[in-house]
């Protein structure tokens, strides 16, 4: 079916709005979701390496232990926790609560502060419990 080309007026888009914390957190929620999506490849690869011969496991392990692997895992931990806290924020909104301007602002900042803090806590645990 041929697409008709009628010039209609467009509603104003992203570029005309002032950047607000809620807006940034909404965008970050989507970006972290997409990153987590592709990151599941790492999880599948790791499980496959555990199921495989020792050499394969050592290869995967050496990647995750390298500075690049650690950087990716650290970023993945943050994306996961940020997306989770962002989701909990949506649960709060689903109940109809938290829509006042100051509440929205607080939830947006709390999501970011919470995800960074939790990521550091998880990694401190990992380093202290390291075998």
């Amino acid at each position: 079916m041929a697409e008709t080309k009628i010039q209609r007026p467009l509603s104003p888009h992203l570029s005309i709005y002032r950047l607000t914390p809620t807006m940034v957190m909404s965008i970050v929620h989507r970006i972290t979701g997409a990153a987590l999506y592709f990151g599941t490849l790492l999880l599948a690869w790791w499980l496959l390496s555990v199921a495989g011969p020792a050499g394969q496991f050592e290869f995967a392990n050496s990647f995750f232990a390298s500075w690049f692997g650690q950087f990716v895992l650290f970023g993945y931990t943050w994306a996961l926790l940020h997306h989770m806290l962002g989701g909990i924020r949506h649960f709060i909104w689903d109940t109809g609560a938290g829509f006042e301007a100051h509440e929205r602002q607080f939830l947006a900042i709390a999501t970011l502060v919470g995800s960074v803090t939790l990521t550091i806590v998880v990694w401190l645990f990992a380093y202290f419990l390291r075998g």
């Binding site: 979701g33 999506y37 599941t40 599948a44 555990v50 989701g87 990992a126 419990l129 075998g131």
Partner: protein, 124 residues
């Protein structure tokens, strides 16, 4: 304009009702405890050797948590990515291809991960 019949069916303008939204929220709720359990399992395995990792993943409770997590997470991310595709890919042909690729990617990741987990538990 809504006819009485369309009101009873409750499917709205997209003809699919709220099933998509509901599944998205259901898996989101399930993901919270499952992802926390995942993190605890992974952190407890940091720096361990092959035998220790196999031993942990062959634990029935750990294996079932990972299996449940995979199903919930992969379902959640498939419908989440579909929303992203529908938002940004406007050409009908490319959209259909992208939505198909999305489903195939999710199944591929899921099958590989579940195969590996079953092999660790039953087939080594």
């Amino acid at each position: 304009m809504r006819t009485p019949l369309s009101k009873v069916r409750g499917l709205g303008a997209a003809h699919s009702g709220t099933g998509h939204f509901w599944l998205q929220r259901l898996t989101a709720v399930a993901n919270v405890p499952l992802v926390i359990a995942f993190l605890i399992i992974i952190v407890s395995l940091a720096g361990r050797g092959h035998a220790a990792v196999i031993g942990k993943l062959a634990n029935p409770l750990v294996a079932v948590i990972i299996l449940a997590g995979l199903i919930s997470i992969l379902t959640h991310m498939r419908i989440g990515m579909q929303v992203i595709i529908e938002d940004y890919v406007h050409s009908e042909g490319r959209k259909v291809v992208a939505v198909m690729a999305n489903t195939l990617f999710t199944f591929a990741v899921g099958l590989v991960a579940i195969y590996a987990l079953l092999k660790i538990n039953f087939g080594l």
